[in-house]
Each structure stands twice: as C-alpha cells, then as structure tokens.
C-alpha cells in the first residue's frame, strides 16, 4: 500500500487499431491493462491497489473510437473512447435518449466527464472503499469481502452478491441497461457482440480473478449500441447522492416507458448503485404495464422495485438504501408524469 499519490512506474504501450491493442494485451497477459480516459486506472495506480495495478498500460486514447452516431433506424452508436461529456451534451442523445443524456451529466464532476470515457464508465472498478484502499478483498487477491463485515453503507449491494458485494458504480451503464444496449467487444479472434447485461453480470470469475465484468484480460469494448427508441417512448433518470457533485449514486433509477396515450404499454426500469450490476426491476416493470402514471402507481412501482431486497445486516448495515432506491424510482417516474 502506497501512502504516496504518485503513479508507480509503468511501461506505456500504444496501439493504432483495436486489434493491435488486443494483441498487446495478449502479449503482456495479466501484466497489462487498458487505459482510455485514465481517471479510474490512474487513480487506482496512485492508490497502489495491488491486484489492479498493471506493469504495462495499453493506451487506446488515440484509436478512432471517439464518436457518436445516431440513425433513426439503427439507433445510437457510441465509440469506446468518447468522453462522457460528449454523451451528456449530444443533442440527439438528449432528444431520443434523455435517460442516457441525464445519466452522463451526473457522472462525477465536469473535468472528470471531459476525460472519462464511454467504455470506462461501464467497466471501471467499484468504488468500494476496501478495494480502493487496497484491503486484501476478493477483488484484490484475498478471500474475504470486507464490505459484508465492515462499512457497507454506501458501496455494497442491497440485492445480495457472491464473493464480492461491491456495487457497480457507474451511471451510464444503468441507462444502457434500461435502453437494452449491446456492446461490441474486440478479442483476439475478432469482434463479438453481446447485451450489456452479459458484459456486466455482477460477479464474474475470469482467469481465476473475481471481477465485475466478463471481459477476458485480452478483450476490450469498442462500441456501445443502443437500439432506436420505440415510438412514443419517454425516459428519465434520477440519481440520489449525498453530495450533489463528485459523488457516486447511493441509488439511481433509469426509466424508459412506451406510452399508448396515457397508458404504459411497455416499461423498462433499472436501478443503479444498489446491486453488483445495474438491477432490472422486473416486478415493477410488470406492474407498470397497463397503468398510467399517478402518485399511487408511482408509489406502487417504487415499492415493487425494491421487492426482494436483502440489505446487509452485518457490519454497519445498509437498509437505508432500500428507502433511497424507492425514492429514486419515485423521482424518475415523477419526472415522466405529464
């Protein structure tokens, strides 16, 4: 553990194509990690998190992956290295994918949003204090989840976990889940496409390591694709945090509703910051279909959204985030109440 804030020595590898980046990852194996914006990896390295600090860094920031493309039929395509701020300010995203635009606007702080990237917000490490401070937890070479035993108020799941209970910290992944996005992953044998829920399964054991995403060490996300929004759909985002900037979600909600007049014909509702991956609130989705948005149905959906929550009772406990998750759902749906 370093008590210093400087970055340990690392070897810099640069690539001009995703295939070349993947080939470098293959060549250097576990020794190398990808850096795109760097706000997460460099921070982790300054903290000296033992099992997350690479000896080599493959810098992909100069790859031609900084783009946002919108097509009414194909939908939205966002390159992996596109800054979060670009997502937050893109007019097409604001118009057709309000939930994503709003989620991006609540990430961290303005300077971070300028540097942090689309793919990075999805695959960043958890903000669990134990990992960030290099405690020897499951994700850091150990065999215990300190979060379960210790201070689990802010960054541990209220919907259970397996080995690790640390929540996925991102905001935009919650919106991507709600929008049924899929991602393109470049591997040694070319590209594959998978739903974002497959990329973020919650807990994955990859190459013997406990992780929160399913990427092999020599795979990288190159693009996020969001299908064209259904006709007559509306969407919204609400993030509950103690401090209104520079803070992760204690609970967030992304809602996408397809309306038939004032009746909801389809609902997609995903909670963030409360589970090891963005948490689809299926019971609340079913409940909403066929209803219209009233104070009563909003409260009903909020209650349904946290059905089955199993907040931790060990350590500090974190049941208050059930309340906050309910609040986030209520706020997000209220924003859609015309």
């Amino acid at each position: 553990m370093s008590s210093n804030n400087e970055v340990p020595k690392f070897g810099l590898l640069t690539a001009s194509t995703p295939a070349e980046a993947v080939s470098l990852l293959t060549q250097y194996g576990d020794q190398a990690r990808i850096v795109s914006g760097g706000t997460d990896l460099l921070y982790t390295m300054k903290n000296g998190v033992t099992y997350k600090t690479p000896n080599y860094v493959v810098d992909i920031s100069s790859l031609p992956l900084n783009y946002i493309k919108y097509d009414a039929t194909d939908g939205l395509r966002i390159g992996a290295t596109t800054p979060i701020s670009a997502i937050a300010t893109d007019p097409n995203i604001a118009q057709y994918y309000a939930v994503l635009s709003q989620a991006a606007a609540t990430v961290a702080a303005p300077q971070i949003r300028n540097q942090a990237t689309a793919a990075g917000d999805i695959i960043q490490d958890t903000w669990c204090w134990y990992l960030r401070n290099n405690y020897p937890c499951w994700q850091n070479g150990g065999n215990v989840c300190y979060g379960v035993l210790g201070d689990n108020r802010y960054y541990q799941s209220i919907f259970g976990g397996r080995l690790t209970f640390a929540v996925n910290p991102g905001d935009t992944p919650v919106a991507y889940f709600a929008l049924n996005a899929d991602v393109t992953v470049q591997g040694p044998n070319g590209t594959t496409n998978m739903p974002i829920s497959q990329l973020l399964p919650g807990v994955a054991i990859v190459g013997g390591k406990v992780k929160e995403n399913s990427l092999q060490h020599n795979e990288m996300v190159t693009e996020i694709h969001v299908p064209a929004p259904p006709a007559n759909s509306v969407s919204s985002w609400y993030k509950v945090r103690a401090r209104q900037s520079f803070d992760f979600a204690l609970a967030s909600a992304a809602a996408v509703l397809t309306m038939n007049g004032s009746t909801i014909s389809a609902a997609s509702l995903v909670l963030g910051g409360v589970d090891v991956a963005p948490h689809r609130a299926t019971a609340a989705e079913s409940y909403l279909v066929g209803q219209s948005l009233t104070t009563s149905t909003i409260q009903g959906a909020a209650a349904k959204a946290v059905e089955g929550a199993t907040p931790l009772t060990t350590g500090t406990g974190n049941s208050f985030r059930v309340f906050l998750a309910q609040g986030a759902v209520s706020k997000a749906l209220t924003l859609l109440q015309s």
């Binding site: 020897p136 850091n140 035993l149 209104q244 520079f246 609040g327």
Partner: protein, 809 residues
C-alpha cells in the same frame, strides 16, 4: 529606540468614528491578484531556484495501515541500495519527542503503532515520482495488537492500555468509572438540589465524530542547510514555534534556524492555503531538515492526502451527557454535564474550552462539569481545528438547550433571550472575569429580525412549509466562544522610508483569514493614509520579523494591536522633525488624510510623502502589546437557518441562513463578510458530511503488506466529503455586529473560528424542525441518519417526543 507606551492614543474606539480604510467596503484583498495569476508561491510550490539551489529532493512518509500493532521489523536496505535516503526511529536523536507531556512520541516509531496511519519511516528521492518507488522498496512487518476506537470502551478496565498509566492522559479511572484525575471539574451552586427542585429535568447524550481540516494545501516544508545553519520554508501558522522545535531537536541556537511561512521575507510573502489550526508544528518540518542534512540538498516534504488526513492533527470527537433543569416559566436552573473527549492515539488532555462555552453562554446559578480525555486507537492527535473543541461543544450545548426549550414548549429564541449571558455587565462566572465586550442580545435580536423568525417559526416539529416531498424547517442557536487566550506579548514594527514607502513587519501570517490585508490596513489607518498603495508587508519570517504569537485562536487581529504601538513609536521619532518644519509643537501633530497636521491649526500641514522626505534615513517604530489577563475575551453571536429536506431522497439543502456575529469593529470588510459566509459553509460540512472513518470489521486475518481491519477508509477529498458549490446555501445574510472591544485595535476582535462555531447546529435544529421535531444526537448527520429521521416521522405523524428521556416532577 524601542519604546512601550502604556496606551496608544491612536486607538480610536469611537463607535461612530469615520475611517479611511477600516471597514471600507472597497478595500480589496491585497495578495489576491498575485495568487489567482499563479505568481504567489505556497510552500508546495517552492522549487530549487526559489532558494538559490539547482536541485531539490522530495520526501514522503511510510505509514502503518493498522490501528494498533507492534513493529517487528523494518527493512530499508532495498531502498537504500537503490540510492534513496531513508529514516527510521533509530536514525533520529534519542529523546527527541513530539506532543504533549505523557503523550509525547517520536516522529517515526519502530515499536508500537497507536493509530492507523502512524509514520514508521520516511524516505527522500531526487524526484517526486521516485518517492513512491522508494516507499515500495521498504518492507515492514507488524504484529497486530488489540485496539479500541470508542472512548467509553477505552475507559473500561478490560480495554487495551495504550500508554503506561492508562487511557486517560495524565490520570486514571477509579471505581464505577469515576475519573480520579486528568479531568476538569467545575462546580457552581448546588446542582443536585436544583435538579431535584426543577419543574422539568431533561437528560440526554450527544456526540461528534473525527473530523479533519483537509486544508486545500497539505502541510509541508522545504528545508536546507548552509553550513550549520538551517532554513525551513514551512506552511506554518507559527514560525517561532517551529524555530524553537528545530533548534531543540538539532541542539543548535535558535539564531541558526530561520523559519518562514512559505517563502516569507518579501512583500506579502506568507501563503498557507488554509491552516485551520493544523499548521503550527509538525514532524515533517523536522524530518525534512534531518533528510536535508543527510543528503546535502534541499528537501521538500509535503504530505499526501492520506498522510495529511491520518498523521497530522484532527478535530476530536467530543460527547456529553447532560442533565438540564428548568422551571415551567423557562428559567434554566441547573446544568450538569459530563464531557468525554476521544483524543486519539497521542492527543493530550482536552475539553475545557467546550465546557467554558457552556458556562459562558448561559446564565445559570447551578452548574457542574466534568471533562474526561480518553486515548484511543481511532486516529492520531486530537487538536485544534478552527477552534479548540468549541465547534463540537456548541453542537452538544445547542442540541441540548434546543431540546430543553422543546420540552418546555417554549419558542427557542425566547428561551435563549431569557437565559443567555448578555449585556449589561457580563461576567465569566468561574474566574469571575468581566467580558471586554458582548454582542448579546443585539446579535440575537438583529438576526431574528433579519431572518424573519416570527413569520417562519410555526412551532416545535411544525415545518415552515411542505410542498410535495419537500419540507422546509427553521432553527436557530446562539454562540459564545473564546476568541483567544492571553498569549505572550505580540510585537511588530512599522518603517517609513524617505520616499514615503511604509513597511509593516509582523510575525503573523495569512492562512486565508485576510491578515495580509488586515495588518497593513491597521497600520495604514493609524498613519492616516487613504490608500495602501505604498505600504509593504513583511510577515512571518524569523529572520525579518519578530514573534507576534501564533496565527490562530481568532486572535491575530487582536495581536496586530501592537502595530498601533509601533506607529506610536514611529510618531515619537518622526513628529519632532516634522514639528520644526511646521513650526508646531510635536505633541499637537497628528496623522490624517495622507498628511501630518497641527491639531491646533489643521491648515498647517504637510503631506505624508513630504514629511517622509524630511527624513535622512528610514525610521522604524517598535510595537509591543500584551493582551490583558484579567478579562474574558468572548465572541458572541446568533444564527438562524432555513433547511429543506426531500422526504423521498433524504437529501438536505440549506436554503438560507442569517448569522450575526460580534466582531468589535469591521477592519477588512470583504474579508470579514466572506469569512462569515465561508465558515458557515464549512459548518454545512460538519453538520452533514465530514467524518474520518475507520474500518469497523473485526478480526479478519491479517495479510502481510495490506491494510488490516480497523485501518482507514476515506482519507481523501472524494470520500471525506466537504461541501461543493451545490451545497452552498442559496442565500446567506451575514451581519457584523460592531460591539467595540477596547482591547482590540480600533475596537476590533478576531472572528476566524467563530465563523464555523455553531453553524452545524443551526442547520441541524432547522432540519429537526422540518422533520417533526426529530432530535439528532450526533454529527455528522449522514444521509442514512436523515432516512432514519424520515422513517421516524412517518411513523410518528404527530411528532411525538423522541427517544430522549424527559421527566416532569
């Protein structure tokens, strides 16, 4: 040449006096342009070229990631083999200890670690990057020991004993938890009888958490040697204390040690980037000097966020159990308080100031206080943080008083008006010292009016407004805090050159409070100048200035009173020369509006610059001022706040606050106003965010090389949350109350600490009002605590009495 006049005729105490610069709203902060254009160098900015060298080494601490452990081995050989310079305890002089009395400790320990983050080694490397390489090459092994974080647990006989003689600094605990020594006991009247006869007795316990200054720039120093002489450019609030510390450590004369704030020694030199009480002395000032000596090059030793948060000082957690007695008409008849201060691994006896605040703030015939300091493994060193325990003490006091008013169902303002200490003739009750001044009841009345309390207050537990999920409550509190204690004499000098240039020499610094403007302003006003354009400031450098005491304790404005005596001395040298030019009696001359004039014939005058031109060489006036010992220096004020809470998200926002504070006289107007506003923002942090945390997990098997259970969790700016611009109140109304203090320059007193004191409880009392009268018992009130309050309110729609006990006899 030096003179020490008994009184200065220059100290204009007329409440209605007209000044050129004092209180002038157009006066801007003198050093701000240099700072915001990047020209002013703070200590971390000093490079080798600034001190005439070509190289500089960088240093850092290796700290223990365990709450309580024995160091079994330290291996620095690999770091040394790589060319880095290392220090461990055995490299330092035996007996060179830091800290207070029984809790003195070496700056690096190789035996027992008493808190998470205690330094065990220091390294230096030729570049900042390589410091991390050097640290990573040091191998330390530890044996875990049982640890205790909670003060009450640490008082139990079964608790780990952290120091020889037990966990109470300077004392021990006897049977039934009765503290035998190391405590403060104050007793007035007959508390037990008064409680027995009271109509209402209210008993409750409140507590605060570990907080940290998180100055924007961490503490640090640049040290270098020239032969046997040592220079340390330090971010320090007290250059003379550092000088003494270094001289003692190296056993050299103090004259061989120069300490300056930042670069010091030149105009407006001092720049700290916050002090907040954390930058008086420090281990790294000494270790930088040791390393510089060893290396033969300057060494810059600036804390990282982690080491700053965990190894410098902290605001100590203070708890108190009160029994308060009152009559049905609202008369406070008894106060019984037991305070427990968790002073950390190496803090000394603390607690008196918080007790003093209670017996000063309220006028009550029967009062009894105990104060118990307790050593724990929770953190490093309980010490000053923008007050010495008073910020915590006001939360405890004004929580209990507010709740007592609630029990009496009495308007909280009326309760304070009835019971608080106020004019006329306020006296500190224990030592029986008269106040130099008091702003009450004026401050409370003005603030109440400006806030519009009578329209907003709807009763206990009844919010001012409810709009959907948003509830708005109002609350208030008073404050009565020490503004400095009688320190040794403060000294300063004022020089006039023949070209009219004025130079102010004062050994105080500016950690953000505005001293770089206030000090020259006071001298300039005394000199009758209408502008500070030709006034230079040389400050806080042991080579160029003299000891003016520590820049702390809200006393710098007070201590700069010596400037008036310096101008008096200057006048005595200068006016005879001017008098012969004007054909006047020197005793009749006075400064005024950039002239020196004959008070018997004001048209007989000479411009300041022409008068200076009469001088053949520069003249310097010497000022000495000793704060009187036989009076009480108190800062008094009142706060009102309007706070909104969203009952779905538990997010709290301060909508507005009104803050009236007695400051004697406003000297540097913009600075005073902004300090009052900014300190209140810091109070939002204390109320709702700030807490330095340790891991509460227990007994996880230790993995060598990694932190263990009980180590730190949030020693950084992201996770130790301070307010952002979004937490800033929508509106702030600050009211300076000019209650002239005859001992202050132009009647002024300092305000630094008093800008945060009681801010948190004003917001918390307002939040309580928004949430049905729910009484919060600790700070900070984190979002989970607000959720608990909302859930309580939802299940107690009539705002039934909270968990605290209350009896009616």
């Amino acid at each position: 040449m030096s003179s020490k006049p008994q009184s200065s005729g220059l100290n204009n105490l007329d409440p209605n006096a007209k000044f050129n610069l004092v209180g002038n709203q157009a006066v801007t902060r003198r050093d701000i342009y240099a700072k915001v254009t990047g020209q002013r160098k703070y200590t971390p900015d000093i490079g080798p070229g600034d001190i005439g060298r070509s190289t500089m080494w960088y240093a850092g601490f290796l700290v223990a990631p365990h709450p309580h452990a024995r160091v079994t081995s330290i291996d620095v050989s690999a770091a040394q083999a790589a060319g880095y310079v290392t220090l461990v305890e055995s490299d330092l002089p035996v007996g060179a200890l830091f800290g207070i009395g029984a809790r003195a400790y070496p700056p690096l320990v190789s035996s027992e670690v008493l808190y998470p983050g205690q330094p065990v080694a220091a390294v230096a490397a030729p570049t900042a990057n390589e410091v991390v390489d050097a640290l990573n090459l040091i191998k330390v092994e530890y044996e875990q020991l049982p640890y205790v974080f909670d003060a009450q647990e640490a008082l139990q006989a079964s608790a780990p004993q952290l120091w020889p003689g037990g966990n109470v600094p300077g004392g021990g605990v006897g049977e039934n938890g009765a503290v035998t020594s190391g405590t403060l006991t104050l007793n007035l009247g007959d508390v037990d009888t008064a409680l027995a006869n009271a109509d209402v007795v209210y008993e409750d316990t409140f507590g605060t958490s570990i907080q940290q200054h998180f100055e924007i720039f961490p503490r640090g120093a640049v040290a270098y040697w020239s032969g046997g002489q040592l220079t340390v450019n330090a971010s320090t609030q007290f250059a003379w204390a550092v000088q003494q510390q270094l001289a003692a450590y190296f056993a050299i004369p103090a004259t061989d040690v120069r300490v300056s704030t930042s670069l010091g020694g030149y105009e407006d030199g001092g720049a700290l980037g916050n002090g907040l009480g954390n930058k008086s002395t420090g281990e790294e000032y000494v270790l930088a000097a040791v390393l510089a000596q060893k290396i033969g090059a300057p060494v810059k030793f600036v804390h990282t966020r982690l080491t700053h948060a965990r190894t410098t000082t902290n605001r100590w957690p203070l708890s108190a159990t009160f029994r308060l007695g009152a009559m049905n008409d609202g008369t406070l008849v008894a106060i019984d308080g037991i305070y427990t201060a968790n002073v950390g691994g190496r803090g000394g006896a603390q607690g008196a100031d918080a007790v003093g605040d209670f017996y000063n703030a309220y006028n009550c015939p029967n009062m009894r206080f105990y104060s118990i300091p307790v050593t724990t493994d929770a953190y490093s060193n309980g010490a000053a943080m923008r007050s010495v325990g008073e910020e915590q003490g006001h939360f405890l006091m004004e929580s209990a008083i507010d709740e007592l008013a609630h029990k009496l169902n009495m308007d909280p303002v009326q309760f304070r008006l009835k019971n608080m200490r106020q004019a006329p003739n306020p006296v500190e009750p224990f030592a029986n010292l008269p106040y130099t001044t008091i702003a009450q009841p004026q401050a409370l009345q003005e603030a109440m009016q400006a806030f519009g309390w009578s329209n907003l207050w709807k009763g206990w537990g009844v919010p001012s407004s409810v709009n959907g999920t948003k509830r708005v409550g109002v609350g208030m509190c008073i404050q009565n805090a020490s503004k400095g204690s009688p320190f040794p004499p403060s000294t300063s000098q004022v020089q006039v050159d023949p070209d009219g240039t004025v130079t102010v020499y004062i050994g105080l610094t500016d950690h953000g409070a505005g001293g770089n403007t206030t000090f020259p302003l006071i001298a300039s006003e005394a000199l009758g100048l209408t502008s500070m354009a030709n006034v230079k400031l040389i400050q806080s450098d042991t080579m160029y200035t003299t000891n003016a005491s520590v820049t702390a304790g809200s006393q710098s404005t007070h201590n700069s009173h010596s400037l008036l005596y310096a101008v008096e001395d200057l006048k005595n040298q200068w006016f005879p020369i001017v008098a012969s030019k004007l054909n006047a009696n020197a005793n009749n001359l006075a400064f005024g509006n950039d002239t020196i004039y004959d008070t018997t014939n004001p048209s007989n005058s000479i411009s300041f610059n022409d008068a200076a031109a009469l001088l053949t060489s520069s003249i310097k006036g010497f000022g000495v001022w000793q704060i009187p010992f036989n009076v009480a220096y108190r800062s008094t004020g009142a706060r009102f706040a309007q706070v909104e809470v969203d009952t779905e998200t538990a997010v709290v926002h301060v909508i507005s606050h009104t803050f009236a504070l007695g400051l004697g006289r406003t000297i540097f107007y913009k600075g005073a106003i902004h300090q009052m506003m900014g300190g209140s923002v810091m109070g939002i942090g204390s109320a709702f965010f700030e807490e330095l945390l340790n891991d509460p997990s227990q007994n996880v098997t230790v993995t060598p090389g990694f932190p263990s259970s009980g180590s730190w969790l949030n020693p950084n700016f992201h996770d130790y949350q301070i307010p952002t611009i979004y937490e800033n109140p929508d509106s702030a109304n600050v009211i300076p109350v000019e209650n002239i203090d005859p001992t202050g320059p132009f009647g002024a007193t300092g305000i630094g600490e008093n800008c945060i004191i009681a801010a948190d409880i004003s917001f918390i009392n307002a939040l309580s009002n928004a949430l049905g009268g729910y009484r919060f018992h600790k700070t900070p009130i984190r979002i989970e605590d607000v959720v608990e309050a909302i859930q309580w309110m939802n299940s107690n729609p009539n705002g039934a009495s909270s968990t605290s006990s209350s009896t009616t006899s």
